[in-house]
């Protein structure tokens, strides 16, 4: 007896049939797609904006704060003991990978701020008298505090070695004392001792962060000799981007190997954790919305495909009569719902990406989009379509050809 072959349906034929089926009712297909489009769009916008905003926040945070580490040295009750952090300990710190600059400062508490006077150069009888903090520092302070010298210069190792009577004024201190022109070599009196003003700092985010705008900065040796400024009270460190956490752990040991536990380190939170936190907050809010939209979309596809199966009963009977197996019928309806989902996913992903770019342009952000998201969203749409089409496809496949031919025209 001859054995007949199994019926076959090529992949290209299957997709041709699916596309023809989908294209035969364009308005219905578009309406069916809407749920998937809305769901995928919401998901892409959610994830894209979360990533963009997280990156934006972390980027700002990185630029200003994430490279700053401050080591606070507690006050010493026993003045006979060697200092917890010595002025000459900085080279141990600057040798560490990731340290761009470091400076030690000795800042008295607020009660012992110095009395600072300045004579008006044009009207010497006018005296400006202020109580301002006198701070002894090492030479690298502008770099370590992310500050800049607006006028003049900062003191150097030579000034420190000679204990020169020079000062650099913070921007607000210079304004308060009426020091505007360094050309004449203006002098200020700190606790009645004359000092030459050699520079004025610019007010920056770094100078504000470290309260340098109102300070009168002197070489630490001069401060020790003439203003009773003692051992370092803090060490300011500027790190490479991303190195702050590591330096925060290593700095106390480098500065005070024997007593590093007593040092207090102020370091920024991990930018990656911050970014992750921001993304998580945004994600958890809107991913739920996106998923709900997708489920609604999937239910829409299921409903419409079920109606389509009922309407095309005659076609199902015809296909069975022409040699289509149950598997072919199921495959065709699955392919149709998959195509609907895939196109919905492509349109949704495109709309989502455009929306992320538009929002980013509006906010002057740099849009950040994961490529896997752009590629995965259409695939997710196709999966939603396939899952949604599963039940209608099985219903279609279970139809008896005789019944299908009889009930459909």
């Amino acid at each position: 007896m001859k054995s007949p072959l199994r019926p076959v349906l090529g992949v290209r034929d299957l997709f041709d049939e699916a596309l023809a089926g989908v294209a035969s009712r364009p308005l219905r297909t578009v309406l069916t797609m809407l749920g998937t489009i809305v769901g995928i769009t919401t998901l892409v916008i959610t994830l894209g904006i979360a990533e963009t905003a997280g990156n934006q926040i972390a980027g700002r945070f990185d630029a200003v704060t994430a490279t700053s580490v401050t080591v606070r040295v507690p006050g010493q009750a026993d003045s006979g003991r060697p200092p917890t952090v010595a002025w000459d300990a900085l080279p141990n710190l600057t040798r560490l990978n990731g340290v761009r600059a470091a400076a030690a400062v000795s800042r008295p508490d607020g009660i012992s701020d110095a009395r600072v006077r300045a004579n008006d150069l044009h009207d010497p009888a006018t005296v400006t008298d202020r109580i301002l903090p006198a701070v002894g520092t090492t030479a690298d302070l502008p770099a370590a505090a992310d500050s800049k010298v607006a006028r003049g210069r900062y003191f150097d190792e030579g000034h420190i070695a000679r204990s020169d009577r020079v000062v650099v004024l913070g921007s607000s201190a210079a304004q308060l004392l009426g020091v505007t022109d360094l050309g004449e070599g203006p002098a200020v009196f700190v606790d009645d001792q004359p000092f030459t003003v050699i520079g004025v700092l610019e007010s920056t985010a770094g100078s504000q962060q470290h309260n340098l705008d109102t300070a009168v900065l002197v070489p630490y040796t001069t401060g020790q000799d003439r203003l009773q400024l003692g051992v370092p009270t803090a060490v300011l460190i500027r790190t490479e981007l991303g190195a702050a956490s590591l330096i925060a752990r290593q700095a106390p040991i480098a500065l005070s190997p024997g007593d590093h536990d007593s040092l207090q380190v102020l370091a920024p939170p991990d930018p990656a954790a911050l970014r992750g936190g921001v993304q998580h907050d945004v994600d958890s809010l809107f991913v739920v919305l996106g998923l709900v939209s997708l489920i609604v979309g999937a239910l829409g596809i299921t409903n419409v495909t079920l109606v389509t199966v009922m309407e095309r009963t005659g076609e199902i009977g015809l296909r069975r009569a022409l040699g289509g197996s149950r598997r072919h019928i199921a495959a065709q309806f699955l392919a149709e719902s998959g195509v609907v989902g895939l196109i919905g996913g492509i349109v949704g992903a495109s709309s989502g990406i455009l929306a992320v770019v538009a929002i980013s342009i509006g906010r002057q952000w740099t849009p950040v989009l994961d490529l896997t998201l752009a590629a995965g969203a259409p695939a997710a749409g196709a999966v939603v379509g396939l899952l949604a089409g599963l039940y209608p496809a099985l219903r279609a496949a279970r139809m008896q050809p005789v019944d299908a031919l009889r009930s459909g025209t």
Partner: protein
């Protein structure tokens, strides 16, 4: 010797209802290659049950059915589907054309589930449309065709791939007199070309054009002479 295209031996079909309905009783039928046969009978006589079994759309409860030498009662569902697709061409009363496909695409569907060259399919479909006199309607969708033309497209679809048996279920039931005549003339031509035809009908005018007339009543067949 060439085996008959159709050989039914003691075929019976009973529908499970209360009481059970004996749609076919001990049916014996031989149809040879090139036969043109009409099955006539009143409504409820068993015509559709016979058509469904002949078309491998249903299984008999008893007896054997050999189609082109293959014992179909021993085949599983997938094998019966493949045999149906390769050996039988169907023509239905309501045409069963896909409204969103052109005439040529509707005809080409007959080969969709068979192994074959995809690129040749369209060419063969057009040639078959030419064979039924519709070469000028290749790209037309069904809604732009007359009833007679639609049925000729359906006949072209049934003829594609040279099936062993053309099974027609009330093929002129939705046609006016002129189109009925045109379709019957086409059947005469196909008979001349050696196509094996079984036409199920309740119309005596249609059955009279056939070479053999089989009457069915209460599930039993009887062949009318001459």
């Amino acid at each position: 010797m060439t085996p008959p295209v159709v050989e039914l031996s003691d075929v019976g079909r009973v529908y499970d209802s209360d009481p059970p309905v004996h749609a076919l009783r001990d049916v014996n039928l031989r149809v040879s290659t090139g036969d043109y046969l009409a099955v006539v009978g009143a409504s409820g006589s068993g015509k559709s049950s016979l058509l469904n079994i002949l078309g491998l759309l249903d299984r008999p409860d008893s007896g054997t059915y050999l189609l082109d030498g293959v014992d179909t009662t021993r085949l599983d569902d997938g094998q019966r589907t493949a045999l149906r697709g390769s050996k039988i061409g169907f023509v239905f009363q309501s045409f069963h054309l896909l409204p969103y496909r052109s005439a040529a695409e509707n005809v080409a569907m007959a080969e969709l589930y068979r192994r074959g060259d995809r690129t040749q399919r369209a060419r063969r479909a057009e040639a078959t449309l030419d064979r039924v006199g519709l070469a000028h309607r290749v790209g037309f969708r069904p809604d732009r065709l007359s009833g007679g033309e639609r049925q000729r497209v359906a006949i072209a679809r049934a003829l594609l791939g040279e099936p062993a048996l053309l099974l027609c279920d009330e093929p002129t039931g939705n046609l006016d007199r002129a189109n009925t005549e045109a379709v019957l003339d086409l059947f005469d031509d196909l008979k001349e070309q050696g196509v094996t035809l079984i036409v199920i009908t309740h119309d005596d005018d249609v059955s009279r054009r056939a070479e053999r007339r089989i009457s069915i009543e209460d599930g039993r067949l009887s062949e009318e002479s001459g």
